[in-house]
Symmetry: C2
Amino acid sequence: MEIKVVRKVLGVNDTVAAENRRLFEEKNVFVLNLMSSPGSGKTTLLERTLERIAPEIRTAIIVGDICTSRDADRLARTGVPVVQVNTDAFGGDCHLGAHVIREALAEVDLDAIDLLVVENVGNLVCPAEFKLGEHARVVVLSVTEGEDKPLKYPLMFRVCDAAILNKVDLLPHLDYDPDAAERYIRDVNAEMPVFRLSARTGEGMDGWLDWLRRARKP
Amino acid sequence: MEIKVVRKVLGVNDTVAAENRRLFEEKNVFVLNLMSSPGSGKTTLLERTLERIAPEIRTAIIVGDICTSRDADRLARTGVPVVQVNTDAFGGDCHLGAHVIREALAEVDLDAIDLLVVENVGNLVCPAEFKLGEHARVVVLSVTEGEDKPLKYPLMFRVCDAAILNKVDLLPHLDYDPDAAERYIRDVNAEMPVFRLSARTGEGMDGWLDWLRRARKP
C-alpha cells in the first residue's frame, strides 16, 4: 500500500513535468537539472559556467534547498536571474518536484532566456526519481567522495545524461582513482560522458561547456 | 493528503522504533545511528573506530546502502559481525526505517555485543526523520563539503547528539573554515559536541572515542 501511494505521487509528478516541458518547448528554453550529493560543488560550478557562457547564452537559475538562500545569494552576484525555492515550504522535501518548479516559473521570464538551470537539493537518491520537465540531467560528483558512488546510487547515474567529476585539483592529496570512478559510472551507464574538472581552478571546464552548448542545440 | 500519508508512515515507524529500543535495553546493547552525506567517510571512520575499541567494546554493524555490499565487505575485514541491508529490497529507500532494522536484527546476536552501530544510507535529509530505536545519533561531515551544510540541512543537525568533521588532513588544500562550520553547527544545535578528525590519518580520533565510551555508559 505504501508503494501504491508512492506510485501515485510519481504519476502526478510526471503529469506536471510533462506540462512544464510543453511550456519550455513553446518558449524555446533548454532546461538542465543539476543534481549531486551535498557539497560536491554545484554552486561553484554554476558560478564558473555562468562566467563563461554569459552573455552568449541568456540563463536563469532555480535553486532548491531545504532552507536558506545561501546558494541563490552567491549566484545572484553573477548578475543572472535566480529564484530560490525552499522545500521546507513544501514539507521539507528532499528533492524538487515538478509542481515546485511550476510555482517557481511564475518568477522566471522564459521569453528572456535560452537556458534554465535547476540546481536541485543536494541528495544522490530522491531527486533521481522526480522528473521536472527538463531536457537533460547532469550529476556532479566530487573526487573527495569515494569512487564507488555510481554503484551505490545507480538510479542517479542511470537517469543522467552527463557526469561531472569535480575538485580534480585535490587529486594529488587523495587516495582516489578517477579511472575507477569513470569505470563504475560506465558500468551503470555505458554511454555517459564524464567531465573531469575543477570548478575552483577552472581546469577542464572546456569539455563541459562544449557539451552544454551542443546539448542545447539538438 | 500527501502529508497525512507521510505522517502515518512516520507514526508506524516510531512504533517499531520503540519496540527495537525495548529490545536493545533488554539486551543491554548501546545503539548508534551514524548518518552523513555520501562520501563523507563513515566507513573509514568505522574501520578506525573498530581498530581502537575492539575487543574492549564488543561491536556489530548494520550497514545500509541502496545497492552493493562494498561497505560491508570493507567492515567485515575488521573481524566484526556485519549485516548489509540493501534498501532496494524495500523500494530503494533513501534511508533506513525501523522495520528494516528489525529484520536485520535477525542476523545479529545481541547477547554477544555491547555496541551496535548502524551505518545509515548516505543522505543528509531523509534519515534524520526516521528513528530506529537508537540511543544516540551522530552526523559525519567532510571538510570538503562546504561550511554551510548545518544551515542547509538543519533537521539532521538538530536530531543528532554529536558531529564529526572528517578529513581535516585535507584542510591545507581547501578554502574551508572549520571554525565557521562549527559555528553553523552550534547555530542549529547549541550544545552539540564537534570532533575534528581525520579517519585516514588517525588525527583527532581520541576525542571521538572518549565521547563514544562515555555515551555508552549513561
